[in-house]
């Protein structure tokens, strides 16, 4: 194990996977100088054929990813901020998500798209969307939201090797956060949630970036005598329904924490799964802590006011934990 920052872990994964398979290529805007640090050093190591700065044209970046992958390459495309996914959205929703189906399975599309998502840093509305729900709804595309450096590294390596297209979304708030990462080859399977804290009273289901607020909430709840279990849903597609339902069966109470806007969020979907498959175990309403259908305002205080935080989570959890449970 060594301590690494989240971004550093991603950078390592990129280096290792490009090293491993010479048919792996990477392109995007400013990947050479690495706006977020994640692609640093790749151009020097792998050269200008395999690592390319593109013009500013997300529609073509996403479309080229499809074409180059269909033609036999393993493609990593960087779209910078997740808000720029929208500019390239036709190639994502109409081509990347559908081409394998439409061709009757003639091809795989080994594509990994990187983008940084989320608010909390006064980047205003056009640089702070947490838009994983939009991707989840497309079908055919894996959606990954690792919350720790170890998962960031291990899931990215797995995603790059996978033959399905995937979006690897980097939580902007976690980039500088450190954590232990296993040394040597480290692969984390997709589609497995991780239980980040064991608990008996309530299940806090954290989506991607929300892990720290959730952990803080769990601490506060513990002080109040509520023993929270935390599930870190690091993979949204595929979604690990089993781990979620198992925990719900144990605690009977759930709060889902998601930085997305509320309507049709990952939180909505997870709540729906629980209300269906976990109904037998439910002892209280399924609460969501999300962003209430607003984009992020710029002013720090205004953003903080609508950004999910530990207190929101505590409040939601408390509202469904009866006194006797909490005791």
């Amino acid at each position: 194990m060594s301590r690494k920052r989240y971004t550093q872990a991603i950078n390592e994964a990129l280096h290792e996977e490009m090293e491993r398979d010479p048919k792996t290529i990477l392109f995007g805007e400013d990947v050479a100088l690495a706006v977020f640090g994640d692609t640093r050093g790749l151009l020097d190591k792998f050269g200008p054929k395999r690592v390319r700065n593109t013009p500013i044209c997300e529609a073509t970046i996403a479309g080229m990813a499809v074409g180059a992958a269909a033609a036999g390459y393993r493609v990593i495309a960087h779209l910078l901020f997740s808000n720029f996914i929208y500019t390239g959205f036709d190639a994502i929703a109409n081509q990347m998500a559908k081409l394998r189906l439409m061709t009757g399975g003639q091809i795989d599309l080994p594509i990994t798209v990187l983008a940084v998502y989320g608010g909390g840093a006064s980047q205003a509305a056009q640089h702070s969307d947490a838009n994983h729900p939009v991707l989840m709804n497309l079908g055919g595309i894996d959606v990954l939201v690792p919350a720790t450096p170890a998962d960031a590294k291990g899931m990215l390596k797995t995603a790059i090797r996978s033959n399905r297209p995937s979006f690897f979304l980097e939580a902007s708030g976690l980039g500088a956060v450190g954590g232990e990462v296993p040394d040597g080859e480290h692969l984390v399977p997709l589609g497995k949630a991780s239980v980040a804290r064991d608990g008996m009273d309530v299940t806090l289901i954290s989506v991607g970036s929300m892990i720290r607020a959730t952990q803080n909430a769990a601490k506060k709840l513990a002080e109040a005598g509520v023993d929270a279990e935390i599930i870190d849903v690091r993979s949204l597609v595929p979604l690990d329904e089993r781990t979620i339902i198992k925990s719900v069966m144990k605690t009977g109470r759930t709060v889902i924490i998601d930085e997305a806007r509320d309507m049709c969020s990952a939180a909505s979907h997870i709540a729906a799964v629980i209300a269906d498959k976990g109904f037998a175990g439910l002892r209280a309403p399924v609460r969501r802590v999300t962003v209430n259908n607003s984009s992020m305002p710029y002013a720090p205080n205004a953003e903080a006011a609508i950004f999910p935080n530990a207190d929101d989570i505590v409040r939601a959890a408390t509202s469904i934990c009866q006194p006797e449970t909490a005791a």
């Binding site: 013009p55 073509t60 390459y73 189906l101 439409m102 061709t103 003639q106």
Partner: protein, 339 residues
């Protein structure tokens, strides 16, 4: 630039090549005419967009390609598919929605693809093939074996911004890409000139690549332009733009009359003019080859009969095919593979 050899070429190889071009054009014409009939009389599962009248462009371009060159197509893609070597049986079965279809019935008319022939596929999104072809050209460049990636698109698609983006990327990276604009003057039910500023070829010129504007109903002119562009790709000299002016005889799609409910966007006269032998790409080519002694009336009649037979066989093949696998969509989309 490649020397323009084709037009002066009198060799047996070139004569044979021309006959096979004519053969493909006839196959496309008869296949699509048959589809029009089926659409009208019996009905097909989905809509079909036919390229009758535009056969020369598809065949002229593809006559210069190898099987492992890449090609992306449009919603009007049957001609491109067949010209690039796609199998008519598998295409018909696809349009009939059968398991024996080239895409197992998952794609239909607007998505015919055959990767074993370099056919990345038709596309229901206007302009959707441009960036995909550019990506394939990038792959071809990395492969380093001289392969080309051809992108067919319409004059309507040239108004999508992604067209310009792709010319730009292909140019700066010197990709082996060939952008082929089939300029039939129409964008769905709109006369393209009413929604298009300037000349499309000038757009391409702005991106520093060779541009040729050719008579899209002259298959040999197209083949020549394609040859030049392909040779540039083979020699890693970068992308080219070819614009072929042509005309579509059929409606935008076979249900057009019903959709428009009496509305019109062109005159019957106009259509009839393009049907005439002096414009029809097949008649023109037939007459040339006849004059040059390469294909007489008897041979042409035989070729026509062969095309018709192939098409009838394709109809039979399609009709006899098993229905599509109802579980396949989930399997291909990875549904149910969740943990």
């Amino acid at each position: 630039m490649a020397t323009p050899i084709l037009t002066q070429d009198q060799s047996v190889t070139w004569q044979t090549a021309q006959l096979s071009m004519l053969e493909r054009m006839l196959l496309i014409r008869h296949a699509e005419s048959r589809l029009a009939r089926v659409a009208k009389e019996v009905g097909l599962p989905g809509g079909v967009h036919l390229s009758i009248g535009q056969e020369a462009t598809a065949v002229g371009i593809c006559s210069q390609l190898e099987e492992d060159d890449w090609m992306t197509s449009t919603h009007r893609g049957h001609g491109h598919f067949l010209a690039k070597g796609g199998d008519v049986n598998a295409m018909f079965a696809e349009i009939w929605g059968k398991s024996s279809g080239i895409c197992k019935g998952m794609g239909g008319s607007m998505h015919v693809a055959d990767f074993s022939k370099g056919i990345i596929g038709a596309n229901g999104i206007v302009g959707g093939g441009l960036a995909i072809a550019t990506g394939a050209a990038l792959a071809a460049q990395l492969d380093g074996n001289g392969r080309a990636a051809v992108c067919f698109f319409g004059d309507g698609a040239a108004n999508q911004g992604v067209f310009m983006e792709c010319l730009n990327v292909a140019s700066i990276w010197n990709l082996p890409a060939i952008f082929v604009c089939e300029n039939n003057g129409l964008s769905e039910f709109t006369v393209s000139s009413t929604v298009t500023a300037g000349k499309l070829s000038d757009r391409a010129r702005a991106f520093d690549m060779p541009v040729s504007v050719v008579d899209g109903n002259d298959v040999r002119a197209i083949a020549q332009a394609a040859r030049n562009a392909v040779e540039r790709c083979r020699r890693s000299e970068g992308p080219s733009y070819i614009e072929a002016s042509t005309y579509r005889i059929q409606g935008h799609l076979e249900a057009e009359d019903m959709i428009l409910g009496g509305g019109t966007y062109r005159t019957n006269d106009e259509v009839e003019r393009w049907r005439k032998d002096d414009r029809d790409p097949i008649a023109r080519f037939r007459d040339c080859l006849n004059n040059e002694g390469v294909c007489d009336h008897t041979l042409f009649a035989t070729m026509t009969a062969d095309a018709e037979a192939a098409v009838e066989a394709a109809v039979a093949f399609a009709e006899q095919g098993d229905p599509a696998d109802t579980k396949l969509a989930y399997a291909l989309m990875g549904v149910g593979e969740e943990a």
